[in-house]
Amino acid sequence: MNATVTQMTAGSNSTQAFDVESIRREFPILAEQVYGKPLVYLDSGASAQKPRQVIDAMQYVYEKQYANVHRGVHYMSQHTTEAYEEARRKVQRFLNAASENEIVFTRSATEAINLVANSYGRTFLKAGDEVIVSHMEHHANIVPWQLLRDHIGIELKVVPVLDDGSLDMEAYKGLLSEKTKIVAMTHISNALGSIVPIAEVINLAHDAGAVTLVDGCQAAPHTAIDVQSLDADFYVFAPHKTYGPTGVGVLYGKEDLLNSMPPWQGGGDMISSVSFEKTTYQKAPLRFEAGTPSITEAIGLGAALDFMTAIGMDAIAAHEEGLLHYATERLSAIDGLHIIGTAKDKAAIVSFVMDQAHPHDIGTIIDRAGIAIRTGHHCAEPVMKRFGVAATARASFGLYNTTAEVDALANALEGVKELFG
């Protein structure tokens, strides 16, 4: 790509150092209009748009280099396998994992959490053991543990959230005990934007003898991740939020942990040998990749990670922090608008309600101005209840968003006020 990229510090004028217009040209969909208005896409927290590089990489697979992986001796299978495994190495580098064997491709981040709950959870936990989650988890990091609870009788403990939307660390420390076996926690809240001090969460969990699973779905697009320095045991993210395709998810797991776990799903590709008397399994990661994987999607993910790292994760984080500050300032100035989630450490997610209008009405009205935001409970009902709202409107920013788009949002919200009087 041709984007001019230079390092910059948070709070500086992002549009000069970080050539957002050049980056925008890499995203074909950003040239689209909706209702005759330029698309203002502020819903990257739900799913991000895709750059040309990702679209091209996937088209190349289908047009030039496609076959099943890990199976054939023929040219196409061999080269597709190499591309698929190269994508795994790209994820390894993106997360700074120690080995490519620690990267499992699943169908989604949700499936990655379910894999750990089912394989690790059912093998190593027993009735009375405890799993700790936070009050601001996405449903995908609540329900798999509830299913585990229903199957083997574990206890689910919930760390409360303070009024500003940050994690109550003191309460967390109080919940940890020798009964704690897993701490499963979000890195960044999808509903509030709060950044959890995840390194400290992991350290404390390890002190208590628990393993940790980090839901990095909102973190992976926004910030550099180093699973070794975090010492995370499991880390999951959703490629479609990191400018890659849907249909593939990533599970990082420490190699010895993964190899201690039984397969979750059985099928082809995950076995060493099969007879009707006994089947032996591959080591990780293939042990957990039963069936034909999402080949093209994994390769598309590799292209997405190349795209982000070429810009630089620090530059992306700084650009988005600039957007967050500007959006917070513009939206706070609107009469009757209340931001939900005001933690000191926040990612570029602004959840809000207005006295004048319900979030769904806000969403419908500003949609006609071409502005796409998420409205509803964001698959995080418990934290909505915590803040006494059934729903919020949420603007979530990506690397391609601009301060002019923040202005468009603020102006459209003034229009909501006008309509609702």
Binding site: P359, T364, A390
Partner: protein
């Protein structure tokens, strides 16, 4: 502001959304049902009182939701009071058709009084906003469930 939005958010609808009528839990009622839209968190309880002849003598509701779902519930309480169960079912059917862009039959249209039809048409502006049809119909689905003796519905 765009005309289409004004068609949806008409003054009458905004008024009912802000100041819903019959927003209360009656001391006595014959039927109630809970309606949820799990996609957006809207939740309503509809309370119906029917006399022995099957005439609706009182309709009230409580809950929370967007302007469209609250206005629809509020206007529904006014439309249905004094109607029979059978008339309520016809009104629901016609309203559903209006919201989804179908043509109600002349037979059904002919059986509805003009005032009710005008209100239904006002609410059916939602048909230009397909994602919002469930907001407008939630109260009606819930009323239908109450009449049929089902206590809980979901419009996902």
């Amino acid at each position: 502001m765009l005309d289409e939005l004004r068609d949806l958010y008409q003054e009458v609808i905004l008024d009912h959304g802000k100041k819903p009528r019959n927003f209360r839990r009656p001391e006595s009622f014959t039927k109630e049902a809970v309606g949820n839209n799990p996609m957006c968190g809207d939740a309503l309880v509809i309370y119906l009182s029917l006399d022995d002849a099957g005439t609706i003598t009182d309709v009230a509701f409580q809950g929370q939701g967007c302007a469209i779902s609250v206005a629809s519930a509020s206007m529904m309480t006014e439309i249905l009071t004094g109607k029979t169960k059978e008339q309520a079912e016809v009104l629901f059917h016609v309203f559903h058709q209006l919201c989804t862009g179908e043509e109600p039959s002349d037979n059904e249209l002919g059986s509805i009084d003009e005032d009710a039809l005008e209100r239904l048409q006002m609410l059916s502006g939602v048909r230009e906003f397909p994602m919002r049809v469930k907001c407008a119909t939630l109260a009606w689905h819930t009323m239908d469930a109450a009449v049929k003796g089902e206590n809980e519905i979901s419009t996902e």
